[in-house]
């Protein structure tokens, strides 16, 4: 059996699943089948390894809002932040007698996503009604795909340890159980002071893809990384904008802990996870809470818990009615959804009325994993750099634009972008799209550096200036601040001569054999040039003059 070492590449961000104090022993065991014991030497010394260890199991249910102009079963527009109840058709409002009509675009998006996640796309899938009473669910049921979803049995590969710890062994796979099409609900706004609830049905009926990930993860970081990879895939496909803050990607986590080798524990469902960071935090908190609860002789209830961002913990949502029975029933108003492939496509089929899986497969855009490989190959950059480029929204485009416009080496460019540029952004908490610096400016700057018009320190200064003074080009800044390297040999020789003349003591020292003083003289000359001279050349001249 392969030895899965650290389930998470950054142990610091994962739970050390050991309840004994002071014994640092990380165990990140795999869920069924097969358990894995701890790796550290401490674990190996335990008399009964595994007996007191905890393993966590995490599965995810992810709702991705389909990027589509209209809703799943109606012609209403889909727009974020439209005035309340302005995007509501008779069907969305569940007026009696209205019927659902399936949106082809949503079907294609689900097929595309299914293919990208290595799923089997079902040629026949069915719609079901899931019943519950809620004010923002006007029909009293949601149309979903409970029995036979559109895609099943896929997988998602993700890589942990972006950055220094990157290694191919940190690549993991989570199984995708299914992808189902379903309707979103509306939104309830509770006004507690006036004890009323306001309903906005703009979101009611918007198409969702529910992606169900098997419990193949074992900590917050794994879940977060898997979700991040899914997010990148959805965006590459254009099937969802997958913006968590806008609710286009909603994640519920099923978390349980157990002793390796024993049956899985009772699981809780953690909801209200609206950022990837909180997702990781909430899962890790929940794992720890369950372990502590069990250690203290408590029990884990099969309940729904919400993550409280401010408190950094999960709290029980205390469903008053207890376990819901959704009374699933086939949706009688929608015939089975039949998809075709090149082989099964009827000859006389109206292209507007059929969805051809093979046609979609042929047109799948490049997926993030392929993009990364291509970047590594094309630019000779490190794999971990390719991860960073894709993980920061807009960074890849920024990098590619710079590359198009510069003569500088890709490795130099990636260095500038990943350390200096990204550093500036992070420090100021900005997204790439909010950068005051355009890729063209950076490209120009790197060109100037590459052709030795400016020195590296001068280049950094220009970078700083560019950040502060938008609208100016690097060339303008260099001219204004006189930052060009002194290319004129005579001028530089004159400056050197003048410096030597002003510092007789230092000259004497050098002549007496103290070579260290040369460096001091170089520094003085550089200051005299305003940092515009290449230290190598100064050294050359000084050495000549001192002889």
């Amino acid at each position: 059996m392969a030895a899965p070492i650290l389930r998470c590449a950054r142990p610091g961000r994962c739970w050390s699943l050991d309840y004994r104090p002071r014994r640092s022993r990380a165990l990140f065991a795999e869920p069924v089948p097969g358990r894995v014991r701890g790796q550290s030497s401490a674990a190996a010394q335990e008399p009964r390894p595994g007996a007191h260890e905890w393993a966590a199991v995490v599965g995810l249910e992810i709702h991705a809002q389909i990027s589509s102009n209209s809703k799943l079963f109606s012609g209403s527009q889909v727009t974020f932040l439209a005035p309340p109840n302005s995007l509501v058709s008779f069907f969305d409002a569940s007026l009696p007698g209205t019927l659902p009509v399936l949106n082809r675009r949503c079907v294609e998006a689900a097929v595309m996503t299914g293919l990208a996640l290595n799923c089997t796309v079902n040629k026949k899938s069915l719609f079901d009604r899931k019943h519950y009473f809620y004010a923002d669910l006007p029909a009293g049921y949601q149309i979903t795909q409970q029995r036979l979803p559109i895609a099943v049995n896929g997988s998602l590969t993700y890589s942990l340890g972006v950055g220094a710890q990157w290694s191919p062994s940190a690549t993991k796979t989570v199984r995708i159980k299914q992808i189902q099409l379903e309707q979103d609900s509306g939104k309830s706004l509770h006004d507690d002071t006036r004890s009323q609830t306001l309903i906005d049905l703009n979101r009611a009926g918007v198409g969702l893809m529910e992606v169900v990930m098997e419990p193949d993860m074992s900590c917050g970081n794994e879940a977060a990384t898997a979700v991040r990879e899914l997010q990148l895939i959805l965006r590459a496909l254009g099937t969802s904008q997958a913006n968590m803050a806008e609710g286009q990607l909603r994640v519920d986590a099923n978390v349980s802990v157990h002793h390796p080798g024993e049956p899985l524990g009772v699981r809780t469902e953690v909801k209200n996870l609206n950022s990837i960071r909180f997702l990781a935090k909430a899962i890790d908190y929940e794992i720890q809470r369950q372990i502590e609860e069990l250690q203290n002789g408590g029990k884990i209830l099969n309940e729904t818990r919400a993550f409280d961002e401010k408190l950094g913990c999960t709290v029980s949502m205390r469903d008053k009615e207890g376990k819901q029975d959704y009374r699933f029933m086939p949706e009688p108003n929608l015939p089975p959804l039949i998809l075709y492939d090149a082989e099964s496509l009827p000859v006389a089929a109206d292209p507007q009325q059929v969805v051809n899986i093979d046609w979609i497969r042929e047109r799948l855009p490049e997926l993030p994993s392929v993009t990364r490989g291509r970047l590594v190959e094309q630019y000779g950059i490190l794999p971990e750099h390719s991860f960073v480029l894709l993980n920061e929204d807009g960074l890849l485009e920024f990098f590619q634009t710079v590359m198009k416009e510069t003569r500088a080496e890709p490795k130099k460019v990636i260095g500038w972008i990943l350390t200096i540029f990204l550093g500036y952004l992070k420090q100021r908490n900005l997204a790439v799209s909010e950068s005051p610096l355009s890729p063209s400016s950076l490209a120009e700057l790197l060109n100037l550096l590459d052709s030795k018009v400016i020195s590296l320190p001068a280049a950094k200064q220009v970078f700083e200036e560019l950040w502060q003074n938008q609208g100016k080009t690097p060339g303008q800044i260099i001219r204004e601040k006189k930052l060009e390297l002194l290319q004129n040999q005579e001028e530089l020789e004159e400056i050197c001569q003048a410096v030597l003349a002003k510092h007789p003591q230092q000259v004497m020292a050098v002549k007496n054999g103290n070579q260290k003083v040369v460096n001091k003289l170089i520094g003085i000359v550089r200051r005299a040039t305003g940092g515009r001279a290449d230290p190598g050349r100064i050294k050359q001249i000084l050495e000549k003059q001192l002889q």
Partner: protein
């Protein structure tokens, strides 16, 4: 004039023998005179007159829209009508004015038809008598016919006893009464288990349940989505075919409608039935069937045989499971379909505001009658996770068996099945309500319901008057999407039996006199 067929009245309009306004006003007057029938829930007088006026202008310009231009029609009050209250005869929807027209309503209007109003029914179409709506029961016009009254006199009943009026059958009883009493030329019903055919049989009308998927359900407030079809009630088979021609076809708003081209539904005159094979399902010969009804059924079969058709006994072995199977499937869908009536957006809302849940509960308790609530309760029971396989899934399997029964029979060479539509002729209201709605529905849908399970077309054709002087109808069932063939056979049968016209002389003749007085109606007619 009001007794004409669609083709006749259309010709009269074209030739200017009558104007759309005159026709509309005549119908509106008659609706007032026959108010006691309780056929209409809403009479859209203003709108109808406006439509008639527009139609009149079109005729003047010689630009009539279609065969229905200027012809007054009525629509069951479970079809959505833009700007006209649509109640489903339920407190829940009292005051609900839909913002859109059902596709079938729109198609009628697009043909220039004049929509007189919305007809009465059992609450949410759950019933077989048109007795269980909040607006009260519908009275069968035949209760006041010369034919029935004379028979009652002969059997020494007091002809004027008001308490003995008859039910129309249901749930489209309002539409049936409206057409039967000549207040309109055609009406839409809906048919989930027999709701169009049953009142058609009891009111002496042609009642067509088209093939499922032939006519759009968009805007029909559902009872059971997988069985509902808009039904057509007319006084003759040709009229039903004309209306079907207007309504049939794919609707992008209803994904269950056929995408294949349909029609035309012009009926040829069948002269030779020798190539026809008529199936008589032996399971329909149930003990509850009245002997008189059974005799008419035999007579009809003999009629076909005597004209050269092949008449064979066939078996639909799963027929007896139909009722119980229907009960499970119907209530399950009802439970689901009724979930939207929560008092939040439209319809009735109670005064309770303790919590949203309490508001739902009280609203639904106040808004639905016992029948609806009972079906919701059983439906939810059948859909519970622990019951789903034992009830719903099993019922679906039985439904498949029932549908397969029909397929087998039709594959064996049978063209059309001939069955009774109802167990007997119309019964008096007071007798009808001795049994509860559930028992009645179970009994009365016995011959009609399995057709809905299988999605087949079926039509009630009035055959003769019973010994009581009341209509008796027979049902013809065809293959899926063979509606035109089915109606062709129905037309032949209609021609053979020469069903008598209802004699409502008092009603029709005195119409102008009545309209001068306000409170006539019942008293005058009873005389």
């Amino acid at each position: 004039m009001l007794g004409l067929s669609l083709r006749e009245v259309s010709a009269a309009l074209k030739q200017g023998q009558v104007s759309p306004m005159e026709l509309c006003q005549k119908c509106l007057s008659l609706i007032k005179e026959t108010k006691f029938l309780n056929a209409y829930i809403t009479v859209a007088e203003e709108k109808a007159l406006k439509q008639a006026e527009e139609s009149e202008k079109r005729y003047e310009k010689g630009q009539a829209l279609g065969v229905l231009d200027g012809i007054p029609v009525a629509v069951k009050d479970n079809f959505s009508t833009a700007g006209i209250e649509t109640t489903c005869a339920s407190s829940m929807l009292k005051g609900y004015i839909p913002p859109y027209n059902a596709t079938v309503v729109q198609k009628l209007l697009d043909q220039g038809a004049v929509l007189l109003g919305k007809t009465n029914l059992d609450e949410f179409a759950m019933g077989s008598g048109s007795t269980d709506g909040i607006f009260g029961p519908v009275r069968n016009p035949w209760s006041y016919s010369k034919q029935y009254r004379e028979k009652r006199k002969q059997s020494h009943h007091r002809a004027d006893e008001d308490s003995n009026w008859l039910i129309t059958g249901g749930s489209s009883g309002g539409s049936a009464a409206a057409v039967s009493a000549f207040t309109c030329f055609a009406a839409l019903g809906s048919d989930t288990g027999g709701s169009t055919r049953n009142p058609a049989a009891l009111c002496g009308l042609v009642g067509l349940k088209p093939t499922y998927g032939l006519v759009s359900r968009y805007g029909l407030i559902p009872l059971v989505n997988s069985m509902d079809v808009p039904g057509i009630l007319t006084r003759c088979v040709d009229d039903a075919a004309i209306v079907l021609g207007v309504l049939a076809g794919h609707d992008p708003k209803d994904s269950t409608t056929t995408q294949d081209p349909v029609g035309p539904f012009i009926l040829p005159i069948l002269r030779d039935v020798s190539k026809l094979c008529i199936g008589i399902p032996k399971e329909y010969n149930v003990p509850e069937l009245s002997s008189e009804m059974q005799a008419f059924w035999s007579k009809a079969a003999d009629l076909f045989a005597s004209k050269g058709a092949k008449v064979v006994e066939v078996s639909l072995p799963h027929t007896s499971y139909s009722i119980v199977c229907y009960h499970v499937l119907c209530t399950a869908e009802v439970a689901s379909n009724m979930a939207r009536f929560d008092g939040l957006e439209y319809g009735h809302r109670c005064n309770v505001n303790v919590s949203t849940e309490a508001m739902y509960a009280a609203t639904r308790r106040e808004g639905f009658n016992d029948v609806v609530r009972g079906r919701i309760l059983s439906g939810n029971f059948f859909l519970l996770r622990e019951n789903y396989d034992d009830y719903f899934v099993k019922a679906q399997k039985v439904r498949r068996l029932i549908a397969n029964d029909f397929v087998k029979v039709f594959n064996s060479g049978v063209d059309v099945l001939l069955t009774p539509t109802t167990l007997s002729d119309a019964v008096p209201y007071l007798e009808f309500i001795k049994e509860d709605n559930r028992t009645r529905s179970a009994q009365d849908d016995i011959f009609t319901q399995s057709v809905n399970m299988a999605g087949l077309p079926a039509v009630n054709v009035p055959m003769a008057l019973s010994s009581q002087g009341l209509p008796v109808g027979l049902q013809l069932i065809g293959r899926a999407f063979s509606d035109q063939q089915l109606l062709t056979v129905a037309k032949w049968f209609e021609e053979q039996v020469q069903f008598p016209v209802i004699q409502l002389q008092e009603l029709v003749d005195n119409c102008p006199t009545f309209s001068q007085h306000e409170k006539l109606g019942l008293v005058s007619l009873k005389r």
